[in-house]
Symmetry: C2
Subunit: 340 residues, 2 copies
Amino acid sequence: MAEDDKSHLTLRDVSEASGVSEMTVSRVLRNRGDVSAKTRARVLEAARRLGYVPNKIAGALASNRVNLVGVVIPSLSNFVFPDVLTEISRGLEETPLQPVFGTSHYDLEIEEKVIYEMLSWRPSGLIVAGLEHTDAARAMMRNCGVPVVEIMDVDGSPVDANVGISHRRAGRDMARTILAAGYRRIAYMGTVKAEDYRAAKRLEGFEQALAEAGIRFEMREHYAGGSDFRKGREMAEAVLARAPEVDFIYCSNDMIGAGAMLHCLEAGIDVPGRLGLAGFNGIDLLEGLPRRLTSMDACRAEIGAAAARIVAARALGEGDEPQRIEFAPRLIHGETLRSR
Amino acid sequence: MAEDDKSHLTLRDVSEASGVSEMTVSRVLRNRGDVSAKTRARVLEAARRLGYVPNKIAGALASNRVNLVGVVIPSLSNFVFPDVLTEISRGLEETPLQPVFGTSHYDLEIEEKVIYEMLSWRPSGLIVAGLEHTDAARAMMRNCGVPVVEIMDVDGSPVDANVGISHRRAGRDMARTILAAGYRRIAYMGTVKAEDYRAAKRLEGFEQALAEAGIRFEMREHYAGGSDFRKGREMAEAVLARAPEVDFIYCSNDMIGAGAMLHCLEAGIDVPGRLGLAGFNGIDLLEGLPRRLTSMDACRAEIGAAAARIVAARALGEGDEPQRIEFAPRLIHGETLRSR
DNA sequence: CGAATTACTGTTTGCGCTAACAGAATGGTT
DNA sequence: AACCATTCTGTTAGCGCAAACAGTAATTCG
C-alpha cells in the first residue's frame, strides 16, 4: 500500500503523481463533480499507491463543514450510556455524520468544558444527556448555530430539541404500581449523588405518589460510588436489619435492586410475598438472575435512535423533525412484585 | 454570556471588540507569550461577552497540532472496553490530549475505515484494540507518523507499541489451574465469533495445556450474539443434559460463566464440588453473586493507563517509554473452583 | 547617557483543502 | 461553418488561525 515515509502527503503529492491538478484529485476522492473514468482511475491508483489519507482538518476549514456530532454523557460505566451511544452510532450510520463522545463524570463544570471543547471543533450537531447545565453551557448551546438535542430527560426546559422520558412520571408510576400491589412500608435505596438529576426526579415523583396515598418512606438509604450487586446486598441487609417492618424496597437502579434481590433470596426472605423489590432501567443483561427484577424501561434505545434522527435531519437540512419527543417508560413487571 | 447570534465569531471579532490585534487575542486565549495584564483582561472580557469559542479546526491547521488521540475498540457493549476507555481518559487527563473513540464491531474492514477516518483528522496518536488488522490498516498505522499502541493482546506482531496480556498464556494458565484442582471432564462454552481473536487465543492456549495432560474437551458449545446470564444458563443446561459426566465448564467470559453458575445453583448442582466453573475478565461488577466466579483479570485498567502513558510520552516528546508491555493476567480463584 | 535588555504588540505568511468560477475539449445541431 | 450544450479540468481565492519575524516602548545597566 503505502510506500513513502514522508508522512505529510498532501493533495499536491497525489496530483503530481497522477499528472492532474489538485482540484481534480480532490474531486475524485470526494466523488464530487464529473471526472472521466480514466482520470479517476489514475488518481485513485496514485492515492492508493502513495497511501494518501486526506486531511479533514484542512477540508473542514475550507468547506466549513464538519461531519461530526458531539455526544456528551455523564459516564461510560453505567450500562445505560454505552447503550444509548450504540444506538446513536447506529442511527448515524446511514448518514455522513459521525459521533464523537465525551464524558462529564456527572459534573456540570466538567460538562461545560467538554461542550466547549466539542463546539470548538465546529460539529454539525450536539447531543447532550440531561437538561441541567451551567448557564455558560446553555448559552454556548443556544448560540452554537447547530442542532442541539438534550436526551434522557424531559422534565425541564430544553435549549433546543429534546428526547427522553419523564423521570418524575416514571417514579410516580412505579409508586402507584407498588401501592396497588398492596405494599405499604416502603424503603428507598439510592445514590447519594446530588448530580444524578434523573434519579432525584424519579425519587421526587415516587415520593409524591406516596404522599398522595398518605404514605412516607420508612427509611432512605444512600450510597456513594458505583453501583454493583455487592452494594445492593449490603444495603438491603442494613435496611432490613434496621427496619424489619419494611415490605418493599425501591432502588434507584437495577444493579442495586438485583443485589438486594440476591441478598433476600439467600436470606430466605419471600420475594415478592414478604418483600417486594424494584429497580430502574430495564437492563436486559440481568435476565437470567434467579428472579426477574421489577423495573422500568428507560427507552434508551428509542431515545438514542430519535436523537440521531433529529440531528441528522436538521444538520443535513432534510426537513425538520418534531423537536420534543417524550417516550413513555414501560413497566417491566418482573417477579419481585406481587401481581394482584 | 453570549449575546450575538452571528454564530461565526472569529478572532477578528474579538480583536475588534477589544481593540488589539488578532494575534494578541490568540496569545491571550492560548496563554502563550507575554501579554500585559490589562490587555489580557480586556481581551478575556470581550471574548466572554461575545461568547467566542475558538475554532480548533483552523488552529490545528495552522499549528499542525491536533490534541486528539484516536481510540479504536470493537464494541461498547462488552464491559471490558468502557473500562479501558475510562482508564485511557483518566490517563490523558493531565495532558493536553483528548481521546476520541470509534468502534469496529469486531469487523476488520470496518476497523480499517475507522482508522482511516481517525487518521484523516491527524491525531497525535492512535490506540487500537488487538493485533489483527487488514494489510491496508497496518500500512496506514505504520506510515501515519504518530505513536500507535495496540492494546489488550500481545500474541502477535505489533506495528509500533504494544500493551496487553497474552491470551494464550491466560488460557493455558487457567487450564493448568483447573487440572491441578483435579477436574478432568472439561467442556467449553464460548462465542462463535471467529473475529474475537482474543477469545480464540485463550481457547487455543487452554486446549494446548489440556493436550499436554492428554485431555480433550468433552464438548464445545458455541453461541452467537451478546453475552448475558440467560445465555449462560441455557447453555450450561444444554451442556449438562448432553454430557452429564462433565465436571468443569470453561467459559469464554464472565457473563456466560455467571449465567452457568446461576443455573447450577438453581438445579442443585454442587459447585465447585460436582462441577467447577470459570470465566474470563474478572468483572468486579459481578461481585455479590451467590458465588464468586473463578476468573482471570485481563488487566484492563493497567492496559488503559499504560497505553495512555505511552501515547502521551511519545506525542508530547517527553522521552520514550518502553514500547512493549506485557502484563501477567492474575487468577481470581473465586468460589467455583475446588481449592486443593 | 547610550546601549542592551526586556516586555509587549503587530504584520506577514501559509497550513491543506474546497467553492466558485473560468476555460478547454468534445460532440451534436442547424 | 457557426453555434450551443455537455463534459471534463484547471485557476484563484480564502477558510480561521498560529509561527516566525518585526517592530515599539519601557526598563535596566555599566
